[in-house]
Symmetry: C2
Subunit: 330 residues, 2 copies
Amino acid sequence: MNNTTLKKIAETLGCSISTVSRALKHHPDISVKTREKVLELANTLDYEPNAFAVHLRTQNSKVIGLMVPFIFNQFYESFIASVEEESRKHGLALMILQTANDPAIESENLKLFRQNRVMGLFACITANTNDFSGFRKMSEQNIPVVYFDNVPKDPDTCRVCLADERAATLAAEAMLQTGKKKIAALFGDRGLSITTNRKVALENFFRSKSAGVQLTAYHATNSEEAEKTVQQILKATDKPELIFCMSDELLIGAMKAIQQLELKVPEQIGVISISNGFIPQLYSPRITYVETSGYKLGKLAFTHMMACISGASAVKELVQESVLIKGGSL
Amino acid sequence: MNNTTLKKIAETLGCSISTVSRALKHHPDISVKTREKVLELANTLDYEPNAFAVHLRTQNSKVIGLMVPFIFNQFYESFIASVEEESRKHGLALMILQTANDPAIESENLKLFRQNRVMGLFACITANTNDFSGFRKMSEQNIPVVYFDNVPKDPDTCRVCLADERAATLAAEAMLQTGKKKIAALFGDRGLSITTNRKVALENFFRSKSAGVQLTAYHATNSEEAEKTVQQILKATDKPELIFCMSDELLIGAMKAIQQLELKVPEQIGVISISNGFIPQLYSPRITYVETSGYKLGKLAFTHMMACISGASAVKELVQESVLIKGGSL
DNA sequence: TTAAGGTCCGCAATCGTTTGCGGAAACATT
DNA sequence: AATGTTTCCGCAAACGATTGCGGACCTTAA
């Protein structure tokens, strides 16, 4: 461990540690001459402050945590990339853990975050988190938590959300315009807040319009399930004219089924999805989708976090707007 | 900051800090009775050791670093997910930074890693890293670095690699078996070690076989470039019968071009790729590919890292084997 | 000449742990 | 009774930085 410390610099310069420390941060108490000397030596010796010592002393960590169910996922990935960009700009380190949707792992992770005294946490809770004591402990230690994607029901928590209702409504409007009546709608895990939000919004929209639309809802927790479900749906005699997918994962499954049955999009089956934007453009024609950008959400989450840390945030919830991106799949 | 410390526990129990510390780690010097008392109080008070203090004292950080050009990338993503799984199992925290392929950012990141005294670093260097001083400083501080994917030319560095030559050869063999002669091969950035490795291997294979194969090489640094390139290639009068893509990114671009020209795979154009496995299965028929699993590479990298940390590793390079996954695209 | 004020720097406590060492008390051995 | 062994625990020094406070020295003004 060939590390240069304040002590070493002080000794070779024949001055005190405090002088070195102050010189390095341009404290006015230090004369220009000594400051220059210190800075020069520090530079040639490649001095780098020991983050642990600093954090221990100053009680603030310059590390922020991020917890997602899975990293291997377009949406989370773009969220993470976005948050990382911002944290780097602010000189913060990012500590990332995944829960695998397991509440037990989730609470272990929270422990690790607490032990590492992260100065803030971005969290997407698992689909079946019931015990919030781990999160409460964070709050008790004044560690702000900004929830995203799947958030706790408690409205008194900081959060950034996609405009779920708006997104579903945008998709619904687009579907309504096609004039097609028979719609199959694929939703994800029932435990997720976004599932409920989107489903309710979609159903409400068509109920209020009463346009003779026949909407059938299905649930699938992953791509494979979605594929099987859609295959069954499309093989039935009374097959739908439109398929709505509430996420990229489901879209992938649906498209596999459609391709296997060699159905032409949009002639034989229309497709629309809520998506992060990457998957829809892989197909030809491009799938029409309502964008829910993890990247944008990440930026939003970060500004929210900064506001929370500085204690200036009265707002609890920030919403990332949705926008319809037209492809050729309707 | 409502944190319980050893001191607090010691005071309320009327014993010394050292006793509490030892009791908590089941030191034999401490009697069962006091140990129980300490453990109980620590539990009810939700004691959690201050990681900074521990690390400062013990000089070992329980944090490992990981640096990639981009997080938003199937391959890196799966690598990260894999490494995270392992680190969590070992109670380690993972600190992730991206370089955006910018050497300046890269060296800043290295600084952050050093300041945070990571106990090890997984690094994929940028396509144009020339100055390795930042990495050398890590070595001087005895921080092991395990390179992956794009690695420095210096053979005296720890690294895990995909079997690039083997992967290219496997793909070449599969192409040879089709009997098709005109092949267009798409490669990535010339600055990447994997580009060179794969290209050389592919060219050597066909040169040695001299099977009358007409191989043309193209370069594209991203999906859009690949798309344009392939469009031009396929519009030419003398269009190839097979397209080889050395990565998922290029495959995406190639497939977009193919779909736009409404060419049938594999009848009108054969496709094969080296891939992480996610993209090829999105199409129908599934694309035949040689698997280069980021997930497996991650596992391998982690075991290599553990060996390096314990100082037990004589081996410098570990190789992750390749395997051909047959789809219906040849 | 003396008091006031400014400039520049060092002392020492502190953050929360870990750990070598020494020592008191209890017990066992001749 | 004297000596040797355990058993159990506390003292205090680190780890590397930050920072309030005080003090030495010099300048300036009355």
